[in-house]
Amino acid sequence: MNKGSFVERNIRVLFPLPAVVFVIVMMLFPVLYTLFLSFTNWNLTSGMPLRFSWFRSYARVLGEPRFLDAIGRTFSFTALAVAAETILGLALALLLNREFKGKAVMKLILLLPLVATPVAIGIVWNLFFDPTIGLANFVLSLLGMQPSAWVSSPQTVIPSLVLVDIWQWTPMITLIVLAGLAALSPEPYESARVDGASSFQIFSKITLPMIAPTLLTAMILRSVDALKTFDIIYAMTGGGPGYASETMNVMAFKYSFEYFRMGQSSVILVFLFLLVLFLSMVIMRLRARFEL
């Protein structure tokens, strides 16, 4: 048996092997290891070695009112951010979907928030949001409005963080929708105009249904990302004031690297994983059902 025949006989295995190894080492292993840790009592502050403890860590985490709050917050943050980003992103895309001078420059400007470093974004927005010397309250005072506490108050912290998320991620939806709009065929529009349809009718009866699959894809991508948002929230508020902006990811980080309770932190991450998985499956089912 020579070498050539070995490669040839096993080519079906060998060629995808690098990809398979990558997925196992970089994706499957961490997930399974986290699952394993969630069944242990691993806690660095106790100085004791890791021990298998079945559902003890689950009981501890589920007994924390803070954890249920974090789940709710993760959802409300995601819902607010994705809804606003979808509407604004779609509107922006429709505005930009025509030929005008400086379109290329406009697209470039739209890209900038997407490529900026999240922690740097957080620091700059924190300066804007400072209630005493920040730009945001200065702008409000110019408009004759009452100053806001922005990220400093439990009531306004989530909307303020959503605002930053909108600033950063609306362009992504715009760019995806723009690409979808560019691919639409012009015929339906021409016949609609001949038939005397109004602009609103054209939008609601032609553009929206045709763009729906693209828009939905953009929303799924955004939702999965928004559920996992960590960097901006941690950089701006660290989950505060109190726990008022603590999402599941932020809570898991604090449990690992501030409390050093690795087992319980893994429990939170397992729940977050299941949540994202469940949501993705629901959306995929819906997509199939409505043939989008």
Binding site: N43, G47, A149, S152, P241, G242, F257, E258, Y259
Partner: protein, 416 residues
């Protein structure tokens, strides 16, 4: 031909072998003024000893995260690192991450500092930098208002009220729950309370609650807006922008608030005073904020020990103090040359704190991160209600219970 190839190979092996034997250590420093001072001095050390020092500088919480991850997974190549004794000392010791430093001469360090450097009978870390709580105040605003520097909490409150205006907050201190715990500690001590006593949480005592109420009232009525999300990094820019009349925080920030490149307030207008006395006592915290240690996992322990002796030497301590870094070594503070150059008010407040200070500014326990968040909830409730909360005592009792559970979890309950 063969001989030539052999000779080249032999030469290569020799060179590589020599390379592998070159003396090298890995040192992790914090983004702290002393870390920067060391970084600048390390080339001299390398030249004198021939040891190559690979330095990494990290922000303090990232330093803890990195060290913990490396040590917990047994994958560390760190030899020497900066460490925060009160925040991570107990946990690092329990996990066996510090190498005992029996061959180091500790005679130049104050006993209060050695208390957190020793576990059992052996010392495990070298105290590097100390800090204590002070009152920073604006001399010009005090002059204008005809006030003198407050000596008691009652005077502090009166001054905060008098100095408060639309433009300037009369008083500032940390309000962000966990971060505020260290600053509230001195208020609690001055009211006669404590966070922990004999290995049990006691911050629901009347003394501690009175202190937390007083702190909350001061910040709610005279503090900057949004104070419950503020730590020192948010208050310092306000002070530098001239928006704060008085600020109680650690002594370590003096250098930065008088730096003309960063501050709009003239250095001559910034004063430092002792933290005002409370109804029961005057014991501000006086703590070792940074130490330096050798990693138990280090494979170059002899080199590491030599490096740590140099990096914590009396000579460098003097240089640090001249640069307004408040060093732990006694000899640095006693040196007449240093005393002539250092700020007189800073030196005076150090003398007071060193004599009367409490060596802890937080509950001294392994699970301190979680405990700080729990105590922080009580502090935030007090600030949000200007100290008048009806449920504060109840909340504090719940949190005391939770902190006691943490102590039990880690085998530290009742142990002291």
């Amino acid at each position: 031909m063969k001989v030539k190839v052999f000779a080249v190979l032999l030469a290569l092996i020799l060179i590589l072998g020599a390379g592998a034997q070159a003396k090298e250590i890995r040192v992790l420093l914090a983004n702290h003024p002393y870390g920067e001072l060391l970084r600048a001095a390390i080339p001299e050390y390398e030249k004198a000893t021939g040891v190559k020092v690979n330095v990494e500088s990290l922000q303090e919480s990232q330093l803890t995260t990195k060290l913990t991850t490396e040590f917990a997974t047994n994958s560390s190549s760190a030899d020497v690192f900066m460490t925060r004794p009160l925040q991570e000392g107990k946990m690092f010791y329990k996990n066996g991450w510090y190498e005992p430093l029996t061959a180091y001469d500790f005679s130049d360090y104050p006993e209060s500092a050695m208390g957190v450097a020793r576990f059992g009978a052996k010392p495990y870390l070298v105290p590097l930098v100390t800090e204590w709580q002070v009152l920073y105040y604006r001399k010009d605003l005090f002059r204008k208002a005809g006030l003198s520097v407050p000596k008691t909490f009652a005077e502090l409150e009166a001054a905060a009220k008098a100095l408060d205006s639309h433009e300037v907050a009369g008083f500032a201190s940390r309000g962000r729950g966990a971060a505020a715990v260290t600053q509230v500690s001195s208020y609690i001590y001055n009211y006669g309370g404590a966070y922990l006593d004999k290995g049990k949480a006691v911050f629901d005592s009347k003394e501690a609650l009175d202190a937390i109420r007083f702190y909350g009232k001061l910040l709610a009525l005279h503090g900057p807006k949004g104070v419950t999300s503020m730590s020192w990094e948010n208050i310092m820019p306000l002070f530098q922008a001239g928006k704060v009349a008085m600020w109680t925080d650690a002594s370590v920030f003096y250098g930065q608030i008088v730096d003309p490149a960063k501050s709009q307030v003239a250095a001559a207008d910034v004063g430092i005073a002792n933290l005002p006395a409370g109804p029961k006592a005057s014991n501000p915290f006086y703590v070792v904020s940074w130490g330096m240690a050798v990693a138990r996992q280090s494979k170059n322990k002899a080199l590491a020990l030599d490096f740590i002796k140099w990096a914590t030497s009396a000579d460098l301590a003097k240089k640090g103090l001249i640069a307004n870094i408040t060093m732990a070594r006694n000899s640095a503070w006693a040196d007449p040359e240093v005393r002539a150059k250092a700020n007189a008010e800073l030196v005076a407040s150090q003398a007071f704190a060193a004599k009367n200070g409490n060596p802890f500014d937080r509950p001294y326990m392994s699970a301190v991160g979680n405990a700080r968040d729990l105590i922080g909830e009580v502090i935030i409730e007090s600030i949000n209600t200007a100290g008048t909360s009806q449920t504060l005592a109840n909340l504090a009792r719940q949190k005391v219970k939770a902190v006691n559970e943490l102590l039990e979890d880690t085998g530290e309950f009742g142990v002291y």
